[in-house]
Amino acid sequence: MIYSSLLFVYIFFPFSLLVYYVTPKKYRNTSLLVLSMIFCSMFGIGFLLFMIAYTALNYAACILISKYRSNKGVSVSVLGLALLLDVLIIFIFRSDFFSIYKKLLSIPESFFPVGISFFTLSAAGTLADVYCGREKAEKNIISFGLYIIFFPKLIMGPVLRYSGFRKMLDSRHDGLSGIGVGVSLFAKGFAKKVIAADSLYALYTASVSADMDKMAALTAWLGATSFFLCLYFTLSGISDMGAGIGHCFGFRLPQSFNYPVFSSNIRYFAARWHIQVVQWFRRYVTRQILRFSPNKAFRISAFIAVWGLFGFWYTFDMNGAVSGAVLGMAIIIETRFRHGRLLPLTGVFYTFITSVICSVFMAGSSLSYSFRYLFAMIGGNGVLADSFSLYLLKSYILILLISMYASTSLFRNLMMRSGHGKGQKIITALSPVIVLSVMILCTVLISYKGSSGMDLLKM
């Protein structure tokens, strides 16, 4: 039951709001934990049990690390063991290489702990913070449990530091106004997922169905662009929905994406894409590695390697790693060679091309496939456009253009520049109707299937 399903929007969401707001304030954290456990159980009782065990394990590890802080040997052992388990768990479920362990543990192929990529980062980061003394170990199991399995951030994050989450927990602003902001944000995410991402996914699957050896350059570009935009709208859509639900319960969860797609340079792109995850890798991996040596070559290699790790985190295969490394290299090259001012459009252009190249690696089933795909993109098959690519262009041009516009911050900037002008007042006054219309439109689009699934990546 992901957020973009009728079961969630029309049954679980109103039910959880009702339960939360009728519960006395004193017990609201408990009610949120119970609701989160019900949410987990909708993915199967097996998932709920897994999450309980996972939370208990990390909770116990944090307490032990804190308790034996003076005894370095014990605390390091507990930290090492807990981190090893966290890493092992994520590899078992996300990497095909470790699927043998699933067989050994009699875990069916269909079982996948949804959100595992995010809650493992949260847990590992907290363990490290507690060990380093940057965080105190949480003794309240309800608060810690919520940190791991709070349902608005379970599927797609954001990956928060424990202190940040705790602050939200202690000083949340729940109420009607928060619900208004929350449902608006939810509707925005719902539209991103159902209107944009699903249509782009259809374009992507249609494009890659073409014979690779005869694929026209236009088809290849349509496929790569639609994958990149679909990835963005899927990830940011689900993140927005989660953040919106969080707002309804008074949690001001930060947004994970800040219009990265048409950034004017690659560094901006990297800083606006999956913001908290990028920060996590910078804080817990890059900084730790860079402490080892001031050598410039080492620092550059480490920087690229960590970006490779970031890409690997998406797919758990070599393609993801190459995708991340390409982005890392692009940042290095840009930092080194772009001294003078460039036209913003030029920056947007090369940033977009780089992002699309990265997504070709991300989408590919193997490195050779991705290289053949890039070859097709540059017209290597000797066909620039054919009837099939023109058919796809004709069928999807409208959704492609709308999606591209929606992925920019042009509309937001327009609203901000208008200040308190008449236009903004009209839009603000109409926003309840716009939000309702978007909710209805998205419901219409999933009324047959009942949900809009995560076809692109299992995270």
Binding site: M1, S5, L6, L7, V9, Y10, I11, P14, F15, L17, M42, F43, G44, I45, G46, F47, P108, S110, F111, L176, S177, G178, I179, G180, G182, V183, S184, A187, S199, A202, A206, S209, A210, S387, F388, Y391, K394, S395, Y396, I397, L398, I399, K425, T428, S431, P432, V433, V435, L436, M439, I440, T443, V444, L445, I446, S447, Y448, K449, G450, S451
Partner: protein, 383 residues
């Protein structure tokens, strides 16, 4: 102002969501069949479903079925996507001439089903015939966008036939229908063939079974309805394609039906009908052929030749069976999709001199469809 607008937004959206929730929970809901997802065997949620979350799919489908004005929503979705030049809506290729199943290339391997059929047929001495019928997407594949034609039904049928053992006699329905594709042999709003399409294949099948077909001009054709909307329409509610005509072919001078009896999974008998016109007013008009779906239907005719035929079939055969009634004194019809346990609990396949399998090639996507053929009766008792 923003704070006030946020509160108004919250109230409006909450009222809307709550109203829909109340309708879903306490409203009348819609028929499953109406949306092309007819429930076949009894749906039971297993321990494994609860353990690993598959049960949520059932509840998602249930929620969707109970959504208020769902048919209008699906129609709006089709119109919207069609206006945006998207040709595929909910897995259906929307063309002004006819609707076609666009998921034709996504079907899995037929190997398991072929293996099960071979195992079943190996146990019996009677002659076994197999007719794999293409859906409209197979015969009119040129209407489909190029990228959907990766695994055409002609290849799926060839693949199935190549895996069936030599003692099973294959019937080439694909080429017969392909040759006649300028005629009204398939419904415009459904994946299945019309009665005329069934008649065209019947002429070949019945000769293989050892009889002469009844000539076309001997039939009186009644148009039962000209407002049939089939399983593809139910996925799109796309009304720009003309509704279909359902026909009944009657051979008034021929053999008559003595009895038609349906049996449920407890072998409780029900009066059946070759044509049950009460379904014309229902959401699924095609069920007029053979009436309510039962795992077993037994038909007795006035044909005086003591010939018995076992037909193992899916819904493609429903409008085909009436043509067979002119040739056999007894026809028993088994539908594995509605059968629980083992076929041996219902009939003794060894007692028939001929067994005819007649399936739409799309049914082969369910790799457990034929399990009832090889399940032993003991297994059923254990269950």
């Amino acid at each position: 102002m923003k704070n006030a607008v946020s509160k108004i937004t919250a109230v409006i959206v909450l009222v809307y969501i709550s109203a829909v929730m109340i309708f879903i929970l306490f409203g009348k809901g819609n028929s499953n069949i109406m949306y092309g997802s007819s429930c076949r065997k009894k749906h039971c949620i297993s321990v494994s479903d609860v353990m690993y979350g598959s049960f949520t799919e059932y509840f998602t489908e249930l929620t969707a079925n109970r959504l208020p004005v769902r048919s209008r929503m699906i129609a709006a979705e089709s119109r919207l996507k069609s206006a945006m030049n998207e040709s595929v809506v909910n897995g259906v290729c929307v063309d002004s001439r006819m609707l076609l199943d666009a998921e034709v290339s996504d079907r899995g391997s037929v190997s398991k089903n072929a293996h099960t059929i071979n195992e079943f047929c190996g146990k019996y001495k009677g002659a076994v015939y197999f007719a794999a019928i293409p859906t409209s997407s197979g015969v009119y594949e040129s209407y489909l966008p190029e990228y959907i034609r990766k695994n055409p039904e002609s290849m799926q049928i060839s693949s199935l036939y190549s895996e069936l053992e030599g003692n099973i006699r294959e019937i080439d329905a694909y080429n017969i229908l392909k040759m006649l594709n300028e005629n009204y042999i398939y419904y415009r709003n459904d994946t299945r063939w019309t009665s005329y399409g069934a008649y065209c294949v019947y002429r070949t099948v019945i000769q293989k079974l050892g009889f002469s077909p009844v000539a076309y001009d001997k039939y009186t054709i009644n148009h039962v309805t000209d407002d049939f909307r089939g399983n593809l329409y139910a996925r799109t509610f796309y009304s720009r394609v003309r509704p279909d005509i359902i026909d009944i072919y009657r051979y008034t001078e021929g053999a008559r039906i003595i009895s038609c009896t349906g049996y449920d999974n407890d072998m409780k008998s029900y009066a059946g009908k070759l044509y049950d016109k009460s379904f014309i007013d229902s959401g699924n008009m095609y069920d007029m052929y053979l009436g309510e779906k039962r795992p077993l239907v037994k038909i007795r005719t006035t044909v005086n030749n003591e010939r018995r035929l076992l037909v193992i079939k899916d819904s493609f055969a429903d409008c085909f069976i009436p043509f067979l009634t002119q040739h056999y004194s007894e026809i028993d019809i088994a539908d594995p999709a509605y059968m629980e346990g083992s076929i041996v609990d219902f009939v003794d396949p060894g007692s028939y001199e001929q067994i005819l399998f007649l399936f739409g090639i799309d049914s082969m996507d369910d790799e457990n469809l034929f399990d009832v053929l090889v399940n032993t009766p003991e297994e059923r008792k254990v269950e």
